[in-house]
């Protein structure tokens, strides 16, 4: 009896996240009409993006040794990964406007929980389901169209997607941490999010050397998307990286996320000592 009480006294971080997420879903579904319109809009706009790529391949057959199937796999991976990070990371996306500028971040600091957990719980956003479904559909179609698909795809697909989602979540956390320094000029970071999604839809070989380096070792987009796609399609890398690299490279997304969490902690510490 006494034990049962004390077990309830502290709610674990995960349980708290589930309840905050559920509360945000309830809030989003309060206006179901708006919600379904937004989700449909999200689905249609991303579909139009792929239609552009598809028509390109209709015209030219293949581009630089890449066929439509391979490009569809890249497109699907990056969009599904990005939609997952959009779903989880809404609190970081709106951090500058809704927390720093308004002083609401002070309120967050008054709650006896880690700030990252509270911001993850800001909203579990349902709207990106549109992008997720569309990306998953294109990914499936790509795997079906591609000439060789290795069995490793069974576990590489979810592994690449989680690595990619971790990387994009890292970008959103880094963007939020930047708000401690400046609330203006954050549009620049969209180069990494929306720009990253755009860049990830194309094979790495299409980019110039410095951009390839950046997309591999800076923002590890190639590690979470391009290399795992090569591995699952058994498509040798024109740049000479062994295929096995794609099986471990999604871990780079988690390394990037860890780095951004470290940056975030530095940002919070500087906020607490400067008060602005």
């Amino acid at each position: 009896m006494h034990n049962a009480k004390s077990r309830n006294a502290s709610v674990s971080g995960l349980a708290l996240y589930r309840r905050m997420a559920w509360a945000s879903i309830v809030a989003q579904l309060r206006y179901p009409g708006t919600f379904f319109l937004q989700m449909t809009g999200n689905f249609v706009t991303t579909l139009l993006g792929f239609f552009g790529i598809w028509s390109l391949f209709q015209r030219f057959g293949s581009i630089g040794g890449w066929d439509l199937g391979a490009v569809a796999v890249l497109y699907g991976l990056v969009n599904v990964a990005f939609s997952v990070s959009e779903t989880l990371g809404r609190g970081f996306e709106v951090f500058g406007g809704e927390y720093v500028r308004t002083g609401q971040f002070d309120r967050l600091l008054l709650r006896p929980r880690p700030t990252l957990l509270l911001l993850l719980g800001h909203e579990l956003r349902l709207r990106p389901i549109g992008r997720f479904l569309q990306g998953a559909f294109v990914l499936g179609a790509g795997l079906w169209l591609a000439p060789h698909v290795s069995w490793s795809a069974v576990w590489l697909v979810p592994w690449a997607i989680t690595g990619g989602a971790a990387m994009f979540l890292g970008v959103l956390i880094g963007q939020a941490a930047l708000c401690f320094k400046t609330v203006e000029g954050l549009e620049v970071v969209n180069v990494l999010t929306y720009g990253g999604v755009e860049a990830g839809q194309y094979p790495l070989t299409m980019f110039s050397r410095w951009l390839r380096r950046f997309l591999t070792w800076g923002l590890p987009l190639a590690g979470v998307c391009y290399y795992p796609a090569l591995a699952m399609l058994a498509h040798p890398d024109p740049l000479g990286m062994p295929l096995a690299f794609g099986m471990v490279s999604p871990a780079m997304g988690f390394v990037f996320l860890g780095l951004m969490i470290w940056v975030w902690r530095k940002g919070v510490a500087s906020y607490v000592s400067s008060g602005s």
């Binding site: 809030a27 002070d106 006896p112 607490v272 000592s273």
Partner: protein, 323 residues
């Protein structure tokens, strides 16, 4: 026997802000001293008023006490914790109401918001149920439990905010402008609730406000802060005795009032056409003697004597200490 330590202890607290001038990346930094070594202690179960004009350092001190700002030097203990060293343990034991910000969720109902706070603070279910019922009775929340926060009036929202700050039985409650913008009945309700809370739960309360009636109704003790320093720290009755002894005399002269000297204890504070306002200390110069003095100078048309409003006293108090 152990002597109970104070609920809040502040020792020689200093905070210096470094402000960058001319853009956020370039330009030189300027130092602004927000708190210049303040010390005070609040015993358990006391309601202490913490007042001062805008820019005096009040909100800096409140932020440090709440654990969301690290001071430049000095010591703070709330309970036995240093707020900025152990934020999570500290904020679990305090409640904070910022009058101008909400801590509830706009899209959720009051009840849903309280339930989320239960999980955030890890309040046991039966204690939560007891507290929720007690707060709903005392703050008259039953009718608005199922309404979303967005739809509440300011008075309703403030009552919900106070419940939200108390759902986890904090030992210390910090109220920052809790009556700002409220109508008269809501102000009275908030004051009555805070008084009962202190009496029934023994909660220590630190109250900042610009509404001197809040202070008059609640605070046993007033800490006045200005320019980062403590200007006065006395029981409210003592502050009242020194300041409320002042009287105000408004004199309408026949014709333009002459320029005149006043006896010690009296001071001209305002001149507007034919009428002159004089504040005086009746212990130094009784009203009849002051009137006789003025009557000898020029013809008087009318006069009114009153006590200055408490706001006016405090304003003058700040001005006197500004130098």
């Amino acid at each position: 026997m152990r002597i109970a330590s104070p609920a809040i202890e502040v020792e020689n607290l200093r905070k210096i802000y470094r402000v960058r001038e001319g853009g956020s990346w370039r330009g030189r930094t300027r130092e602004i001293v927000a708190l210049d070594g303040i010390s005070f202690a609040v015993p358990r179960g006391q309601i202490a008023g913490f007042i001062g004009p805008n820019g005096a350092g009040k909100s800096t001190a409140i932020k440090i006490l709440s654990g969301i700002l690290r001071p430049s030097s000095g010591l703070v203990r709330v309970g036995d914790l240093i707020p900025w060293e152990n934020r999570i343990a500290h904020v679990a034991r305090i409640g904070v109401v910022f009058g101008q910000r909400t801590q509830l969720w706009w899209d959720l109902s009051v009840g849903e918001g309280l339930a989320l706070l239960r999980d955030i603070y890890g309040v046991e279910p039966d204690r939560f149920a007891r507290n929720r019922a007690r707060l709903a009775d005392a703050l008259d929340l039953h009718a608005i439990m199922d309404q979303s926060v967005r739809q509440l009036s300011l008075g309703q929202r403030m009552r919900a905010e106070i419940a939200a700050a108390l759902i986890h039985d904090p030992e210390v409650l910090i109220l920052d402008e809790p009556t700002i913008g409220l109508d008269a009945p809501s102000k009275l309700a908030v004051r009555a609730f805070v008084r009962d809370l202190r009496r029934e739960q023994g909660t220590t309360v630190l109250l900042t406000t610009h509404d001197m009636h809040d202070i008059e109704a609640l605070a046993e003790r007033v800490i006045v802060i200005g320019h980062g320093r403590i200007l006065a720290d006395s029981p409210f009755e003592a502050l009242r005795a020194t300041t409320l002894s002042e009287r105000r005399l408004e004199v309408d002269f026949i014709g333009t009032p002459p320029v005149f000297d006043l006896p010690p204890g009296a001071k001209e504070t305002e001149r507007d056409g034919r009428s002159v306002t004089i504040t005086f200390d009746p212990r130094q110069i009784p009203a009849p003697a002051l009137v006789a003095h003025l009557g000898a100078l020029a013809g008087l048309d009318d006069l009114r004597i009153g006590r200055p409003a408490i706001e006016e006293i405090i304003t003058r108090f700040y001005a006197d200490h500004a130098s």
